[in-house]
């Protein structure tokens, strides 16, 4: 699978502060790439740099196999749809009129309007002025604008911001359906771990401008494997016995942390401890959640 977006050493400095540092992103084709990070981590800045809205201080951006520069930027962007921060719209015009402008700008026939309106389920509101739309409808119109002309890549910055739970759910379903239905690669940013967990197949986690994790969501989930914690009357002796059985244990707050064992293995080892007169007081299963990992990686509390 080739990468549709690659950045090398991408950095952006505002004043003396480096907002994005040496970012090496790789977004594979045909996936939903979740770009996760706490507020102010540099997600929007990065996405704007990919779109050429903000000039990088250093580094390069390659999209669809071409390194983006000032001359080829607009030609490359023809195959990209974007929705950055809040949606862009002309409030005094209707939904259809807004889309007609986008069609003219993209050089796409106006017949595409009905298709995108149907995709975002706005076909019944198309003759209403956009200023009378709800936030959710404006957001969907923004997505419709991005979908005009069947782009190969969608860059969506916090598309569920400001939506109610039903709107969030609808937007998620929409995003998830895009790769299968139209073969579009989606890069979507969010500060919500649970959201990325639900829609993305690949994840990049950014914290204070630095990429701290980038791989498939499955890999991230593997990191959240369960472990066992036991507490005995004599942890030191117990640790010696278990180490002899080739079980790696680690002492932590009166507990011994062990890797996940099968029930039989665990039962055998507990009997061994009891046979040595070491009373086992507690056996607990410890689960490292995605939040714990996120927290570990970013050092910032996750907002849910």
């Amino acid at each position: 699978m080739s990468d549709i977006i690659t950045t090398v050493g991408l950095s952006k400095q505002y004043g003396k502060i480096l907002r994005v540092k040496d970012l090496d992103l790789k977004v594979p084709e045909g996936v939903v790439y979740g770009f996760l990070g706490p507020n102010g981590a540099g997600k929007s800045t990065t996405m704007k740099m990919i779109l050429g809205l903000v000039r990088p201080t250093a580094g390069t951006v390659t999209v669809l196999g071409k390194q983006v520069n000032n001359r080829n930027r607009l030609a490359i962007l023809k195959s990209i749809g974007s929705l950055i921060e809040s949606p862009s719209y002309y409030g005094h015009l209707t939904g259809t009129e807004n889309l007609r402008i986008i069609c003219s700008l993209k050089g796409v026939p106006e017949t595409d309007i009905n298709r995108v309106l149907k995709t975002v389920r706005l076909e019944n509101q198309q003759e209403k002025k956009v200023s009378q739309y709800s936030t959710g409808m404006k957001q969907r119109l923004g997505l419709a604008c991005a979908l005009v002309g069947k782009p190969k890549l969608l860059i969506l910055d916090e598309p569920t911001n400001g939506l109610d739970p039903a709107g969030i759910q609808e937007m998620r379903e929409l995003i998830c359906s895009l790769p299968q239905q139209y073969g579009i690669t989606v890069m979507v940013s969010s500060h919500l771990l649970s959201e990325i967990d639900q829609i993305a197949t690949n994840v990049g986690i950014i914290s204070r401008g630095e990429l701290v994790f980038q791989d498939s969501l499955t890999t991230l989930h593997q990191k959240s494997s369960t472990s066992l914690a036991i507490r005995t009357q004599n942890n030191t002796a117990a640790a010696q016995i278990l180490t002899k059985q080739n079980i790696y244990c680690q002492a932590q707050d009166n507990y011994l942390l062990l890797p996940k064992l099968s029930d039989d293995e665990l039962a055998g080892n507990i009997s061994r401890l009891i046979a040595q007169n070491i009373g086992v007081i507690r056996i607990e299963e410890r689960h490292k959640s995605l939040e714990d990992i996120f927290l570990e990686l970013t050092g910032t509390a996750v907002s849910l």
Binding site: K48, L77, Y89, L93, I101
Partner: protein
């Protein structure tokens, strides 16, 4: 470019810019009518000269306001809907800048032509002596349009730079006062402010005889030097304004 201009007109659909332009031109016309109500034979003989003297003064009061409103109506839609970041992914910013200017220029040109038509029509109706001086009227149209477009350009630059449209609108109003006020100073002063060019490029001078209390108007040579300076000012504002707009990160 044709497409970009067509899109600009699509965008300002329902913004009723033509209403504002025609209303303000209407006010100008009514104002000018006040001056021609009680004309005697002497006045009627100088009717065309009188209009060519009076309208630049009216223009320096009202055209900066019209230009400010037109530019603001065309540009503020981009701030309101935060559309510049979207447009920047779809078209070169310099083309957007040019299309916006051409769109506004159409209205300003329409205002000047409308005004010229009214000048000729009113002249005939009141019964000004002699045929309308076509060459002078065409110069008048050229110069009025040239100043209008330069003022419009300045207003567009401001309207694109500032989200709060009170800033460019205030500049427009201040400009209109400044343009009129500067005309009370020696003529060389007016060259130093943009809004003074309605006066600088005037084709008619006035002589008021203190003893007889008779006003006489006379043609003065076309001020090509002033026109060239105006062209230079226009180019400078265009280059600076466009660069500012292109550099703006959204």
């Amino acid at each position: 470019m044709k497409n970009a201009l067509a899109i600009e007109f699509q965008k300002i659909h329902r913004r009723k810019i033509w209403v504002i332009v025609s209303l303000l031109v209407l006010v100008q016309i009514l104002w000018s009518m006040l001056g021609v109500r009680n004309m005697d034979a002497h006045d009627l003989a100088q009717g065309w000269l009188f209009f060519l003297y009076q309208f630049p003064l009216l223009n320096s009061i009202m055209m900066p306001v019209i230009a400010a409103v037109v530019a603001s109506r065309i540009c503020d839609i981009e701030h309101k809907g935060q559309t510049i970041k979207l447009l920047n992914t779809l078209m070169p910013p310099q083309r957007l800048f040019a299309a916006k200017f051409l769109c506004g220029a159409t209205y300003m040109l329409a205002a000047s032509i409308l005004q010229l038509v009214v000048i000729i029509a009113v002249g005939y109706i009141i019964g000004f002596k002699g045929n309308p001086p076509l060459d002078k009227l065409l110069y008048y149209l050229l110069f009025t349009t040239a100043v209008n477009l330069t003022v419009l350009l300045l207003q567009q630059v401001l309207s694109l730079q500032f989200k709060n449209q009170m800033v460019p609108l205030s500049v427009g109003i201040i400009g209109s006062f400044a343009g009129l006020f500067i005309l009370y100073f020696p003529p060389s002063f007016a060259r130093f402010i943009l809004w003074g060019y309605y006066g600088v490029l005037m084709l008619v001078g006035m002589d008021w005889d203190r003893v007889t209390r008779i006003t006489d108007f006379y043609y003065i040579p076309v001020n090509w030097a002033g026109f060239i300076i105006l062209a230079v000012i226009f180019s400078a504002i265009y280059i600076i304004g466009r660069t500012l707009f292109m550099r703006k990160e959204v």
